[in-house]
Amino acid sequence: MSLTHARHPTEDPPWARWTILALVLGFLALMLILPLAAVFAGALRKGLEASLAAISDPDAISAVKLTLLVAVIAVPFNAAFGICAAWAIAKHYFPGKSFLITLIDIPFSVSPVVSGLIYVLVFGAQGWFGDWLIDHNITIIFAVPGIVLATIFVTFPFIARELIPLMQEQGVAEEEAAVSMGASGLVTFFLVTAPNIRWGLFYGVLLCNARAMGEFGAVSVVSGHIRGLTNTMPLHIELLYNEYDFVGAFSVAALLCLLALVTLALKTGLELTQSVRGRHV
């Protein structure tokens, strides 16, 4: 065998490499790039003007505002919960830890439509608190509070599941040193723990936000689809699509696509530069 043909025994032969690469790239182009291109092509089908007009429609603007409002409430809520849970679980000893983590994971194993349904069962007109809520003139289902609740549920584990393994790995030595030198709990958290977990926290917030802004199934069940009032961006897309307003639907979809691409870019950047754990599921 001549030197030019020398190949490490664990390397695949060139024909295999090229076949596999061609299959992979072909499959990904078909499954990932074409759908992405189809969104932008659909949005720009009647030109940029029509697309921009569709986005600046009052109903579309109120959908964008509602989506932002929901994310602004749900993401910090879940971030605060995630930090609390990770602090209790990673920095202390108590029995039943893994059981608690499994309970936190429940929203991941529940179908989004079911997630919406459980809130209808609790807060809906026929639900547990239905009569009480009607008597006190509080509407949760088919209103903004229901959308926020459903979004919090489906994005519940994201940040906690990012922070718990990270903080467990980092151990308790630094915090114990700070406390033994007289630092209070809050000072220890902000000066010792926070700098260690900031990139992991950012990563969790990024994924949580992407899901919060894009959630369709759970929000669809509790929203009531009232135009301009309880329509989030994903719901607005479906509404326009079902009305055959394709340019409108794809224009709003293109906005969410841009959000997804920014999320992916930041996520990849973080994974390459910081030691965050790339968790999926």
Binding site: M31, L36, A253, C257, T268
Partner: protein, 261 residues
Amino acid sequence: MSQDSILIPDGPERSLIEAARPPFFRRRSAIPGFGLTLGITITVLSIVVLIPMSAVAIKAAGLGWGGLFAAGFSPRALAAYRLSFGAALIAAGINGIFGLITAWALVRYRFPGRALVNALVDLPFALPTAVAGISLAALYGPHGWIGGLLAPLGIKVAYTPLGVIVALTFIGLPFVVRTLEPVVRDLADDVEEAAASLGASRLATLAKVVLPSLAPAWLTGFALEQFNYEEAAAIALVMLVAAFAMLFVINAVQAWSRRYS
């Protein structure tokens, strides 16, 4: 004076000695905030997850066994399960094959645009389902880029079970690739080298050495994929039971693969 008090004197010395004992029973952390953070965690968890989830179980129990059976196994519900699980199984099969070679290519090969491919694999994870839905419907519809090519052949994809399979394949792809990637990376080169040096061809090495060691992770990816039936959730309780069964299977497979490695 007893023996004990000779060995361990009373007074201040005694408490010093006790403090020096290894803390068998009270492994308390010196870090404050345990009560507060655990309290918040359990309260929020109960309000957001546990109480609403128990509502489903109690509501379903209110139907009684007969009612539950009738609702959960009505012909419409059965048709929905068949579509859900059947489509998920086929999608998992497609992703099982392409996810495996994608993970293989990403880990073993260096090619231009690899970082881009790596980032793109997560697109279905980041792209909202509503966007993916209308995009796939447009692509595979009768006038779409792909649907237009298939229509003359008499193949309809959008709004048929075939469309459900395409959508589930799209959604499941990152789960399979990301489950397999770390396992391919950790595959020990030396085992492959040993096989090659004993005269096994590359194909035989792959089939007999590499694939068996990937099997546990591959099964996990396969099961995770099944999980993602976002299309047709018919009756909450049956789906919940199925979801928990899947979770159990995944945990069991992972425990098995830990023992295996």
